[in-house]
């Protein structure tokens, strides 16, 4: 049904004749374009070129565009183009194409030297980080304000969403937190026992597990799991609400999005992360206890006694004390990223990823700061 398009040229008295035939459609445009490029590069002499189109069976915008472009090139070479055999419907198409030709504006290719681009990117990243920190600190202030308002008139504290988020971010996270901390507790005990055995100090495995878990690993693991589970969920929920203009709708109805969305989420994490951390600590110790029982025949009773010797209240307290701070950081970053979403679905995805990356990063930075602080105060 479809006919291969082709053209041939022949010299006439005053110039030459260009006769086209077949289907001049977008499907063949690439091949035709290449052949036409060759033709117009060949620099034909003469005064006139006649395009004979009476044998063209089909013509679409791409075909018309090709012919028009070729005619234009001949014109630039000093030949006058003329069209012949243009049927009515082709003529309309031709006029439409001719009227609408143009070139795409360049999609910003960076032409600056590499060193400049690199410096610019570093500078941009630095400024963006500054703006980010500024933004999150600002959100912390807004959160405190809203919290203060809620303290003054407790009616403004949204209890239902608070409980809902506590369930989703806290209670629903229990299985994964328990499983992971139990396994990591067991692994630490197993690796520690392996190393300490060489010095005959394998009884200290209990100390190792207790201190490392209660001080650092329990809270870190929990915070990272919660950042991945809930920080991202906050960003995605608020982000898609932002995208669908729900947040704007709230504002116009006189509802405060900070009070409705951010305060319950931050509070929920502040309340549940310490609880989760407590359970994580227990599960980690349990994992350690089971492992030393199997590997070193340390019975649970002995484990408990050694545990009491190894870990004082502050070993446990140091870990737990960090939890609310990390909760605030995770929740605020999640909410902040959600509020930064603009128009597109792509932006929701981007901000969700960003919230996880940033909150895990901040959790680790915070942990390092706390480590320095606790060393300084001597606990």
């Amino acid at each position: 049904m479809s006919q291969t398009p082709s053209f041939k040229t022949e010299e006439t008295g005053s110039g030459f004749m260009f006769s086209a035939s077949g289907d001049w459609t977008v499907r063949q445009a690439a091949a035709l374009g290449a052949a036409l490029d060759e033709l117009s590069a060949a620099r034909i002499r003469g005064a006139q070129v006649t395009f004979d189109l009476k044998n063209v069976s089909r013509l679409d915008t791409a075909g018309a565009w090709l012919l028009d472009r070729t005619a234009e090139r001949f014109l630039a070479q000093g030949l006058t183009p003329r069209f012949e055999g243009l049927r009515g419907e082709f003529q309309t198409l031709f006029d439409t194409v001719q009227a609408n030709r143009g070139t795409c504006p360049d999609t910003l290719h960076d032409m600056r030297p590499f060193a400049v681009q690199l410096t610019a990117r570093v500078g941009d990243a630095l400024l963006a980080t500054g703006a980010e920190v500024h933004g999150i600190v600002g959100y912390f202030g807004i959160f405190l304000q809203a919290l203060w308002r809620a303290v003054k008139s407790p009616r403004r504290l949204r209890l239902v969403p608070l409980v809902h988020h506590m369930e989703k971010a806290g209670f629903d996270a229990l299985p994964i937190v328990c499983l992971i901390t139990f396994l990591i507790g067991a692994v630490i005990a197993q690796q520690g026992a392996e190393q300490l055995k060489r010095f005959g100090a394998d009884v200290y495995t209990v100390n190792l597990v207790a201190i490392i878990f209660l001080r650092e690993v329990g809270i870190l693991l929990t915070a990272i799991i919660v950042a991945g589970r809930s920080g991202s969920a906050f960003a995605a929920e608020i982000g898609s609400m932002k995208m669908r203009e729900e947040i704007d709708a709230m504002r116009t109805l006189g509802l405060d999005p900070v009070e409705m969305l951010i305060v319950p989420r931050v509070l929920a994490l502040v309340l549940t992360l310490p609880l989760l951390t407590f359970i994580a600590d227990i599960m980690g110790l349990l994992g350690g206890a089971v492992t030393v029982w199997m590997l070193l025949d340390t019975t649970p009773g002995v484990f408990l006694v050694r545990l009491q010797e190894a870990a004082g209240f502050w070993t446990f307290g140091v870990g737990l004390l960090k939890a609310p701070f990390m909760a605030i950081v995770i929740a605020l970053i999640g909410c902040h990223c959600g509020m930064k979403v603009t128009g597109s679905a792509e932006s929701v995805g981007q901000q969700t990823t960003q919230s996880v990356v940033k909150s895990i990063f901040m959790v680790i930075i915070l942990d390092a700061l706390f480590a320095m602080f606790f060393t300084a105060v001597g606990i």
Binding site: V26, A29, A30, G33, T61, A62, L93, T96, R101, C104
Partner: protein, 259 residues
């Protein structure tokens, strides 16, 4: 030639679970005509469009598009057939990660081996053809207004110079001036490019301004397909209310047609 059906739907039934949307639906779209599909909300206008282009699987019946049955074709033949039609979704459905020009070029990149400068110029042609300023070509969909997104979606639908154009409520959400301009554009393009247009719409002005024939969906099937005069002559209560209600009369007067 004039009466050649490019879309032929016979005895179509579509259903989602127990919910039957179409039952024993027949519809013919002739070559080179603009067919408007109207019907109340929830009568399955968009579903019909999606079923014809193969996004929904019909429960029963036969659909023939450009002389072929999409459901009987293998992957390769289906793709070849799909390239012969273009679809404009309700909000343009532009790929948000690509610029307008790149959206138009997707088909060129995927299906045709085409040099870069040719793609650029053809994309520019399509962008101008749908009445967008050339600067819009390098913008991302999120930077465009709703009306511009629709035009950009139309440019993408026209990328491969399709024979059939499916439009899902092209003027919904546009201001009256923008909608009238879209109607004019549609008619011009349809004449210049020789398109067959399958148009789902709620807009009476669009119906008057662009459609050669109208098909009315009600009671799970096409209850009437014909010209505006046929619609006026009908005494089906829904059709009467639709075309002779206050809005219908106003649209008719605006076009200087019976009403």
């Amino acid at each position: 030639m004039k009466d050649e059906a490019v879309i032929d739907v016979r005895g179509l039934r579509t259903q989602f679970g127990d919910h039957v949307v179409h039952e024993n639906l027949d519809l013919k779209v002739r070559k080179g005509e603009v067919l408007g599909i109207v019907g109340g909300s929830g009568t399955g206008k968009s579903v019909l469009l999606r079923t014809i282009v193969g996004l929904n699987r019909p429960a029963a019946g036969r659909i023939e598009v450009l002389g072929e049955e999409p459901s009987m074709l293998n992957e390769e033949e289906r793709q070849a057939l799909e390239q012969r039609w273009g679809i404009l979704f309700q909000d343009g459905a532009l790929f948000s990660a690509l610029t307008v020009a790149e959206n138009v070029q997707v088909a060129y990149r995927e299906h045709l081996k085409m040099p870069g400068d040719m793609m650029d110029e053809l994309a520019a042609l399509k962008v101008r053809l749908v009445g967008l300023p050339i600067e819009a070509a390098s913008k991302y969909p999120s930077e465009l207004s709703g009306g511009m997104r629709k035009r950009a979606g139309l440019a993408r639908a026209l990328a491969l110079d399709p024979e059939i154009l499916f439009l899902d409520e092209p003027t919904a959400g546009l201001d009256p001036i923008g909608a009238a301009a879209f109607d004019r554009l549609l008619k011009e393009l349809q004449q210049a490019l020789g398109l067959t247009v399958f148009l789902v719409t709620h807009d009476l002005d669009t119906l008057y301004a662009t459609c050669d024939r109208i098909a009315v969906l009600a009671d799970k099937r096409v209850i009437l397909a014909g010209t505006m005069e046929d619609m006026m002559a009908s005494d089906h209560p829904w059709i009467t209310e639709y075309f002779k209600g206050p809005r219908g009369r106003a649209a008719g007067r605006a076009q200087g047609k019976p009403g």
